[in-house]
């Protein structure tokens, strides 16, 4: 017991003794990289030296170019977000002042407060934020679960008609929602042979999500199928040999291995549901979601702030409320993105979309 720490101490090399070596040829020669290069260059002919010089120059210049390109394009991407912040916190008078572009002269929280209340985010009942969150998280969970099960079925089992059925999945990716939205409306309006009216009921979103037919479900099934096909078969064979049924194998063996893929698809699902206004707008009239509110913000503003449905406020002034509304509605997504950025960007590689 007492010897263990001693052994560890002996085995360790003190950090100061490790030479600062980056490449193999530096070891033992005692030369710096520059000196070694100098000696090597003495044995080269002119053309070789010229080629080397050119490469060195390119290696020095390219990072500068790369920085300029990335910085410029990054700026292009961030411009609207910066404008949102700049517009959202300025007062109405600042919009008529041509000298103000970025930094407001009269910074104020007033516009934000007005927009929040105009969007109905302070209401206690039928609050758009609450509606959206409930729909979002619930539907995404249902959809990830159902799509994973379906994707696994397509990936690992052979059955008659599999190609044909998978063709339907591809068709789900290709057919725009607009084509089926009207018949779908009729289906929900006269649900169960006309006995139930499901319009404005959250079930219109939950039912398709539970049966792997929600927003962009085809794509999610496709991703899961690709992912499960990429996992080694030995995993399941071991489980089968131990007498595990396919459903239990899926639960106990496959799902634990698919954690990061699940998270990626779940995050994308959250984003798609959050941004969707078409599907929600087709089936909801009283129940509002954030996206629907933002879509109609212009009309809402007329009533809520200017007290007149036909108020003729110039767009130049109205834009500050609109931008404030944008800022409010994307903030949750931005926070989500900032925290889980790695899973958004690196998850896709592992989720098997490629390959």
């Amino acid at each position: 017991m007492a010897e263990e720490p001693l052994q560890e101490q002996e085995g360790r090399i003190p950090a100061s003794a490790v030479p600062d070596v980056h490449e193999a040829h530096e070891i033992g020669s005692g030369m710096t990289k520059k000196e070694a290069m100098h000696i090597r260059m003495q044995h080269m002919d002119k053309a070789e030296i010229a080629a080397l010089r050119r490469r060195q120059l390119a290696e020095k210049v390219w990072p500068v170019f790369r920085f300029l390109i990335l910085f410029g394009l990054g700026f292009v991407i961030l411009t609207p977000l910066l404008f949102m912040i700049s517009y959202g916190f300025r007062s109405r008078a600042d919009m008529s002042d041509p000298t103000i572009i970025w930094i407001p002269r009269h910074p104020t929280l007033e516009i934000m407060k007005q927009t929040v209340s105009a969007m109905g985010l302070t209401k206690s009942s039928n609050n758009p934020l609450l509606n959206t969150l409930l729909l979002n998280i619930g539907c995404s969970l249902c959809q990830v679960a159902s799509c994973a099960v379906t994707g696994y079925g397509f990936a690992r089992f052979r059955f008659r008609g599999r190609e044909l059925l998978f063709g339907i999945v591809i068709l789900m990716i290709l057919v725009p929602t607009q084509i089926i939205s009207i018949p779908l409306y009729v289906t929900f309006r006269y649900f169960l042979f006309g006995s139930v009216n499901l319009i404005d009921n959250p079930l219109v979103m939950y039912l398709p999500a539970m049966t792997a037919n929600g927003i962009r479900a085809g794509l999610m099934i496709f991703i899961f199928r690709q992912f499960f096909r990429g996992l080694p078969k030995e995993l399941e064979d071991a489980a089968y040999l131990d007498g595990c049924g396919p459903f239990r194998t899926f639960l106990k063996v496959m799902i634990p291995n698919a954690g990061s893929s699940f998270l990626t698809v779940f995050l994308f699902s959250i984003v798609w549901y959050w941004n969707d206004y078409y599907v929600a707008g087709s089936f909801f009239s009283n129940r509002k979601t954030i996206s629907m509110v933002l879509k109609n913000l212009d009309a809402t503003l007329n009533v809520a702030i200017f007290n007149n449905a036909n108020a003729n406020v110039s767009v130049r002034e109205k834009i500050i409320w609109l931008e404030a509304g944008c800022l409010i509605s994307i903030t949750p997504l931005l926070i989500l993105y900032a925290c889980l950025q790695k899973h958004f960007t690196e998850g896709i590689e592992r989720s098997g979309l490629v390959g």
């Binding site: 790369r66 991407i77 099960v149 984003v271």
Partner: protein, 307 residues
Amino acid sequence: MKIPYERRKSLYGYGFISVWLIGTVLWFLKPLAESLCYCFMDNRRLKPDSGGMQKVWLPLSDWQWLGNFKNAFTADREFRQALVSVLRDTALTTPMILIFSLFIAVILNQKFKGRGFARAIFFLPVIIATGPVYNIISGNIAMTGADSGAQFSTLFETDMVDKLLGFLGVMNISDSLSTVINTVTTNIFGLVWSSGIQILIFLAALQNIPPSAKEAAAMEGATAWEYFWKITLPYVSPMILANFIYTVIDSFTKTDNAVMLRVLTIQQKDMSYAYAAAMSWSYFLIVMAVVGIITLIISKYVFYEVD
């Protein structure tokens, strides 16, 4: 009674997809078939209040057969214009998006300080660009109710090419050519904002290039230029096809493109569901035909590594 193993496994397969199968019949195939039927029906009979929407099978005398399609392609000028403009825009922007996203992916695949941050910014549009937020920031406020918002676009726009041409003294290039140039260059923002997913897919493909290929190229003394054409491009080519299909489908099914807007107006303002269905189906079929033909062409040049 013992069911053979293979048979049992295939039954389990049906079990796994059964939930989706039920859902897809109810929420996808049935509406799809119904909307296909709508196409051939009489607008006047297919009204929400008359109960005509409930039963799909109107008596055959109420069917209009190809009347709606004829209407869309001969009488409806707006629809034809929208169709042409969407097809033209997609044809122009898709190659730009593909080239641009491949370029950015190659850059973002290099090692440099702050790479994680740069990647985070370039994928940012993916989470915002699909919603109504995009309409507001692109100044397309007409979508949200008010008119003439285009001048308040907060997007980064530039007419550098116009300025350059003016500087060079090229003034009178033909109108159609300058429209083309404008579509492509003015909207740098649209280009950057619609390439998020494509960059992601290309980046993943670039990281799948086997190290052996890189080493071989380095041993043979390939320059960066040669490396790109001989190694990068062939390895990435399957993903070029995937990205092409994704880009085209994405731009065709966007709720804010001209054809979709036209269909929505017909649906919501005129309540002519049959006509709207006919329009969206013919649009869909045209898109599928275009995608199919180009996919066939591209797939001839795609390189698949055989293990």
